[in-house]
């Protein structure tokens, strides 16, 4: 969202291009607000996803280090932990991509 005062915001400007740009901006702000209303959900989902990725990655790193140090009991534990971390990461990326795509879609809305 544009901050500060600039000549474009002056809707009384006689320049038609500038007027259309102003209307476009208003429309975008409204769409942004609409997106903003659902934003907490996106935010929460993304936050949760990132938290999950972090905890999976920590577990995976811990498991790898333990195994390297000779502490881990079972190979399958290390591998499953690593795979879960990979899945979490990619799932989060997928969620992020979808959110960005949705946002872009909203921003592309034409008058």
């Amino acid at each position: 969202m544009a901050g500060g005062v600039d000549p474009i915001n002056n809707i009384n400007s006689l320049d038609p291009i500038k007027r259309i740009q102003k209307l476009n901006r208003e429309k975008t702000e409204k769409a942004g607000e609409a997106a903003g209303k659902t934003e907490p959900d996106f935010q929460k989902v993304l936050d949760q996803a990132i938290q999950e990725v972090n905890s999976q990655r920590k577990a995976s790193t811990q498991a790898r280090n333990d195994f390297a140090a000779g502490k881990i009991s079972n190979i399958h534990d290390v591998i499953i932990t690593a795979e879960k971390a990979g899945i979490s990461l990619r799932m989060t990326m997928e969620i992020r991509n979808k959110i960005v795509d949705s946002y872009k879609e909203i921003m592309r809305m034409q008058l």
Partner: protein, 145 residues
Amino acid sequence: MLDIFDTMNISASGMTAQRFRLDVISNNIANAETTRGENGEPYRRKTVVFSEVLRDALGKSQYNSIEDLNGVEVSRVAEDMRPFKMVYDPSHPDADGEGYVKMPNVNVMREMVDLIGAQRAYEANVSSINATKAFANAALRIGRG
């Protein structure tokens, strides 16, 4: 928890123990006719005694959890104190006044049975190591698709 390598060590200890037993049995068979050993006496049959190996964190031999499991070991080689066999064979250089020879207390048939048993037990431990290897391979394939 015990890991793949510790589990293999358990099986390896079983193999070592049974191999040792095999050697002792072979030695019995080889000396089944030895009438004069190092001490002048006939050869005396030997047996192995196994004991479970348990090593807890303090090095004491008790079983509290699976971490303590450590396979088996030969705790000692024992002598069979049963009497020597008296065999009538006057032509034998070691025959006594009545023509009897003191022979080792080894029964070759019995030793053969033990030998097969030791072989079987040895192979069972080999199967165990192979199984553990199969476990490792199966685990490593997880996620490969």
